[in-house]
Amino acid sequence: MPWARRTTFLLWGVSVALLALTVVAVRDLAEPAGTWIVGGTVLASLVPFAAGWLATRHDPANWVGTWLTAAGTNILLQMAHGNWADALAAAPSDLPASAVLLNLTQGVWMGWFVPFAMVLLLFPDGRPADRRARRTVFALLGSVVAFNLLLAVAPGPLMPPLQDWPRPFGEHWVGYGSIPALLVFYGSLVMAALATRRRYRAASDEVARARLRWMFLTCLTVPATILLCWAGYLLTGTPVVALGGLIAMNVAIPAATLVAMLRHELHDGAQQRLVSLGMRLRVAQHQVASGGSVALDPLVDDAVEELALAVRELREIAHGLRPSCLDDGLGPALESLSRSSALPVHVSYSGGDLPDHVSVTAYYVASEGVTNAVKHSGARRVALDVRRTDDGLHVAVHDDGAGGARIAGGTGLAMLHDRVRALGGRLSVTDRQPAGTSLVAVIPCGS
C-alpha cells in the first residue's frame, strides 16, 4: 500500500482518539451545550474527511488526499485541545495533563493552515511544482517546529485559559526567536498561494488550466484568513472574525480539489461511456434476434442521454488534450510517432525526465513537424532530434522536402508557435541548404 494511503488511515485512527479525548473533557465540563458543539464540529470535519477519502481513493499514492484528511483531523484536534484546556482551567486536578506537552504545543493553531497550504503546494500530482515550491514546503514545516520549540522557552505566561501552568523549560530571551519563525510561517502561506498561481499560469492548455482554475481562486483564502485573524485581534480582541475565513478555507479548498479530480475522471469516462452504450445496444439487438422483446422507449431515452453526456465530455476535452501515448514519457511517445508515420523518421532522443507540460508541448511540435513534412513538403526522410541543453529542451524536426514553410496566422505552425511561447520558449522555421525545412523549438524546463 502506498505511504500516502497508509498515512490517511493513520490519521483516521488519530481522529477517533482525539474525538474520545474531547468527549472526556466535555463530560467533565458537564455542559449540555457541549454535546451540540461537539456534534457540529464533527459534522464540519466531514467535508475535508470526505474530500480526503475521495482523493485518496482516486489516487492512493497522492499526498493531496492525505493532507485533506489531515485538515479534517485538525478540526478534531482543535476541538480536543480547546475543550481539554477549558476543562483543565476549570478543575486542574481532575484530568491528566503534562506541563511539558502544554508548553510545547502553543502553536497548535497553526494546524488550521498547514494542511491547506500543503494541498496548495502539492496539487494536483502530489509533488511540489518547482524548486521554489519545494523550498516553501521545508520553510512551512520547519517554521512550525521552530515556532513551537521557541515559544516553549519564551518569557511570559501561557495563553489563557492556561496562564497558571508552570514553565518547565524556563524563560529565555531566545524565545523571542519565535517571532521571526512566525514571520517565516506567514511568508510560507503566501508562497503556497503564489505557487498555485504560478502553476495556473504555466498550464499549457485549456484542460489543465480548467483543472487548476478553482484551486487558483480558492488559494487566496489561506493568506486572507491570516489577515482576518490579525484584523480580528486588533479590532475586537478575539480571533472570532477569522471564523469566516476558516470555514471558507475548510469548504472551498476540499471542494476545489474534488471538482478538479472529478473533471479528470469525466475525461477518462467519455470512451468508457460510449463503449458501454454500444454494449447495451448489442445486448438489446441480441435479445430481439433471439425472439425476445425489448422496451424500446426507455432504451432509446437512456442511449440518447448517455450520448449527450459523452458529447459534452468530448467538447470539454477537444482542445489540447494530453495524448495518452505520453503515459510512458516523451521518448517512447516519439518512438511510437515514428512507427506510425508514413515516412522513415529517424529519432534521436536524450531528453531525460521532463515536466508534463514540457513533454506535451514537445510532443505536439514533433507531431506537427512530422505531419507537415509528410503532407506538404514531399520529403523522403525526416529526422527528429530532441535533446536537453542548458536553456531548455531542444526539439528539432528536419526534412529534405521542398521547404518554404512559414509561421502564418491560422496555420498549424502559428498555433504551435503560441503554444511554445506560452511556456516562455521560441519556435523557428527555416529553409535548409540544399533542400528541406527545419522546425526548431526551444522549451524552458525550469529547474
Partner: protein
C-alpha cells in the same frame, strides 16, 4: 464458458457482464480492483479472466501484473487484457505462454470477433489487437518487402492469433489457399515449419516483427 471480469469502471463492468451473459457465457464474478480479482480467480478457477490493464490499487499496469500472477498460479486459465489505447510496450513473454489475449476495449462491440477471441484465448490460443499488429507491421515494413499485399494481410491475421480457417473466413478464401499463403510467408521470412501449433505461429511472427521493428528504428 466460466468467466471472471476485473474492471474498475462500474459502467463498463456491468455492460460487459450483461453482454457476455447474453451470448451464453457464465460470468461467475466481477470485481473492481486487482486484489479482489485475484481472489475471485483463485476461488472460482474460471476458464477465462477478462482484465482491464489499468486498475486500482495503483492505476498503472495492475492488470498486466495480475495476468502474470494468474499465469503462474493457474497456467490453464485464459487471460484477456483490455485497454483504452495501445500500450507502447507489449510483453512478448506474456504472449509466449499462450492462453493470452490483448484487445482494445472498443473491440467488444464487434460481438462475433470478440467472442471468437474469448474462445481462442480460453482454449490456449492467442488474440492480439489488429491495432497492435498494424503498428508492428509498419515498423517492420522494410523487412516485409518480399511479401505480396495478400500475403501481408494473411500475416497480420496470423499475428492476431487467427487459425487458417479463421483467416479463410475473414478474407473469403478457401482453406487450401490460405494454407499455401501461410507456408509461402513462413518460407519467405525464414521462420521454418511452425504451422502445427497456432500459438507458436503467433509467437514466431511476433518475435520476427519485434526484431525487425527495432532494426528499422536504429
Amino acid at each position: 464458458m466460466r468467466i471472471v471480469i476485473g474492471e474498475d469502471s462500474a459502467l463498463f463492468r456491468a455492460g460487459l457482464r450483461s453482454l457476455l451473459t447474453e451470448v451464453g457465457h457464465d460470468v461467475v464474478a466481477d470485481t473492481p480492483d486487482a486484489p479482489s480479482t485475484l481472489a475471485a480467480v483463485l476461488e472460482h478457477r474460471p476458464d477465462l479472466a477478462v482484465l482491464d490493464i489499468r486498475m486500482p490499487p495503483d492505476h498503472a499496469d495492475d492488470g498486466a501484473r495480475l495476468a502474470a500472477r494468474i499465469r503462474t498460479e493457474l497456467p490453464d486459465t485464459g487471460v484477456l487484457l483490455l485497454s483504452q489505447h495501445v500500450e507502447s510496450r507489449l510483453s512478448v513473454d506474456l504472449v509466449a505462454a499462450g492462453h493470452f489475449g490483448y484487445l482494445l476495449k472498443d473491440r467488444v462491440l464487434d460481438v462475433r470477433d470478440f467472442t471468437a477471441a474469448l474462445e481462442r484465448v480460453a482454449t490456449g490460443g492467442s488474440a492480439l489487437d489488429p491495432e497492435v499488429v498494424a503498428r508492428l507491421m509498419v515498423g517492420g515494413s522494410t523487412a516485409l518487402t518480399p511479401l505480396t499485399t495478400r500475403e501481408r494481410e494473411v500475416l497480420a491475421l496470423m499475428a492476431e492469433g487467427l487459425t487458417n480457417s479463421g483467416i479463410a473466413a475473414r478474407l473469403v478464401l478457401t482453406d487450401r489457399t490460405v494454407e499455401t499463403h501461410v507456408s509461402r510467408i513462413l518460407h519467405k521470412l525464414g521462420l521454418g515449419e511452425t504451422t502445427t501449433n497456432e500459438h507458436r505461429r503467433v509467437l514466431a511472427v511476433l518475435r520476427y516483427l519485434e526484431s525487425h521493428r527495432n532494426l528499422a528504428n536504429n
